[in-house]
Amino acid sequence: MIRFTHVTKEFPRTGFALRDVSFHLARGEFAFLTGPSGAGKSTILKLSYLDERPTSGEVKVAGTSSVTITGSDVPKLRRKLGIIFQDFRLLEDRTVEENIAFALEVTGAARDAIPARVGKLLTQVGLAAKGMALPRELSGGEQQRVAIARALANDPMLIVADEPTGNLDERATRGVFQLLRDINAAGTAVLMATHDLELVRQAKFRTLELNHGQLVFDSGEPAPVAATGDDA
């Protein structure tokens, strides 16, 4: 699903963000990305949805390579991914339903099919009754659920989550994390950056730890499953 091969990323002003990072996340796998602030977690996520390109090495995501991708291929790749942030990134002047419908509309979904799809997604994230609410009328946990519903709108193969529980209390964190686990259980791979070591310890998923831009620990890829193959 994601394959980093000797990836180095250097920014002109701040210097190296990643140095020679290699790892592979298989289809349907769940992995945490941990490490102190500035370790390079967000850079790995940005490289995963090709918001940034590596300075050297190759990032391969859902069959698309950073080496050969053109600008017009990026939107196509993003439609295969769901991206979630700590600050939710919802449109404040639109209702919950409109926020989710927006993701479907911009990717050219059939208009008639959108309301039913939005209803289904809201039910999936447990917010069926809050479709008409504005984001500011919701709690942090609920807003993150809306962001997750939006990320799921296009049936992604992979969820890229940047500190999705960073702004949430413990109860909301558990709820959002459970939701991500459920999504993963249904076959969607998840790469989640987090500072929450307690969550990492309890969940027992694969953990990739970064420090100063280098991958310093990888709890290891799961045993290969038949027919999984190299699906990056």
Binding site: S72, P75, R78, R89, R111, A153, N154
Partner: protein
């Protein structure tokens, strides 16, 4: 496309003051353009009227036969540049001179003025070179004594026309550039105000063309509305001038429509230039 229109209209609803301000600013710059356009239109019309009076007068040698002059009239009439040829007898010439000179009408004795052929040229053939060429061609007839066509006057008229065309084009381009810059900056503000939305659009997989289209529609709409408002202002100004100063011609339907569509085009161009540059920074 439907969503792009909705987003563009939503932009007006979300920031009505900003939208009204930019439409008004565009309208005023197009209004200034329109006023100059009206001046240019009326100058042009006046020049065409004056130009219509450009004529080549060929004086006929005394004693020429009517067969000779009749054949010459038919010949000259066949010139592609010529609109009309009128034979003026010495009596008619005297009468005309007396009419034109008013109080000095008695200075002319009968028979003092020669007969002439008065040749008027078609529109588009009244430039100094063509007038001179026609005059010289007429002069080659044996029975033509002299040809006059106010060479200096024709040249001056054309110089005025060239200058007014050049000034009109330069001012027009300046006002169009001002309108493009204004629209560009309002679109820039709109892009920055919606940076978050644009970032989200891109994250969920919207193409650049999709992200751009609402801004292009917004720019074109602002230009269109600004053009419409400018037209109303120009019409009002024309009416006021007509009532208190002098009656001038206004743009016809075709020109009015062209002006408003020009506004939309300027809006589209301004936003295309601005969006292309600023979307990269968002």
């Amino acid at each position: 496309m439907r969503l792009a229109w909705r987003e563009a209209l939503l932009a007006f609803r979300r920031a009505p003051m900003l939208s009204a301000l930019s439409i008004t600013t565009i309208a005023f710059s197009l209004f200034a353009f329109g006023l100059f356009g009206l001046v240019a239109l009326n100058i042009r019309k006046a020049l065409i009227e004056v130009e219509e009076r450009v004529e080549v007068r060929a004086f006929i040698v005394d004693g020429s036969t009517s067969e000779q002059t009749g054949a010459a009239i038919a010949d000259v009439r066949a010139f592609p540049e010529v609109a009309t040829v009128t034979m003026v007898t010495p009596e008619q010439a005297l009468e005309r001179a007396r009419r034109e000179l008013g109080e000095f009408k008695d200075v002319f004795d009968p028979g003092i003025l020669p007969a002439s052929l008065d040749v008027r040229l078609k529109e588009g053939y009244r430039d100094p070179q063509t007038v001179k060429a026609v005059a010289e061609r007429i002069k080659t007839y044996d029975f033509i004594d002299d040809v006059r066509y106010g060479e200096e006057w024709v040249q001056k008229l054309h110089r005025i026309r060239d200058i007014s065309t050049l000034a009109g084009t330069l001012l027009g381009l300046t006002f169009a550039a001002v309108a493009i810059i204004i629209i560009g900056s309002t679109i820039r503000m709109a892009v920055l105000a919606r940076a978050r939305e644009i970032a989200i659009m891109r994250l969920v997989g919207a193409t650049d063309a999709f992200v751009r289209s609402p801004f292009l529609i917004e720019g074109a709409l602002k230009g269109f509305l600004g053009g419409l408002l400018a037209l109303v202002l120009a019409w009002g100004a024309n009416e006021i001038i007509g009532r208190f100063v002098f009656r001038a011609d206004f743009f016809d339907v075709r020109l009015s429509l062209l002006g408003v569509l020009g506004g939309a085009l300027i809006g589209l161009l301004g936003s295309a230039l601005s969006v292309g540059r600023h979307l990269r920074d968002v």
